[in-house]
């Protein structure tokens, strides 16, 4: 899993049916210091994450399909948690809220 920050959303009307009614979040991926590492992913929201929040992202298809409950979903990345706090080597890297 990866830690990311929600920086935007993707609006799409024509898409694979599994995406209907689901929110797509543009998430910057964060490094161990809690800073954007320059990469991003588009992840399906499953927890109601909002703008600017630090989130936990699974980028693995089997888990994603399990969470959305559809064995054939072409989904790889999903947001599975909202991060409250991140500590690395005893230091608070992220303290949200």
């Amino acid at each position: 899993m990866k830690v990311g920050r929600v920086v935007g959303t993707v609006v799409s009307t024509i898409n694979a049916p599994v995406f209907d009614g689901r929110r797509l979040l543009v998430c910057d991926l964060l490094d161990a210091a809690g800073k954007p590492d320059g990469t991003y992913t588009i992840a399906v929201d499953t927890v109601g994450a909002g703008a600017g929040e630090a989130v936990l992202i699974v980028d693995e298809g089997n888990s994603a399909r399990q969470v959305v409950g559809l064995a054939t979903a072409p989904i790889r990345a999903i947001v599975v948690g909202i991060v409250d706090e991140l500590t690395v080597d005893g230091e608070h890297v992220l303290a949200e809220g």
Partner: protein, 94 residues
Amino acid sequence: MQLARVTGTVVASVKAEGLEGVKFLIVQPLDRHLRPEGSPVVAADAVRMAGPGELVYIVGAREAAQALRQTFVPVDHAVVGIVDAVEEIGGRPR
């Protein structure tokens, strides 16, 4: 999943079994500011409506084939949606 721009189409008359009728597009992956990033890839068009110039989002790896009618096929990237807008938080939609 990543943003990408469709830059071309691929026509192949000889294809692996299961790929008959699957449309292939050349797509250029983009960073989240819509700047090209990395090398173009060939992606199957799972929405069957994407065309050159369009902003799309793609899924890679095994999940790509799941987007197609026949799911056990040799495909590693697929276009799964056409993007209307990428709305940056605190910014203007693009």
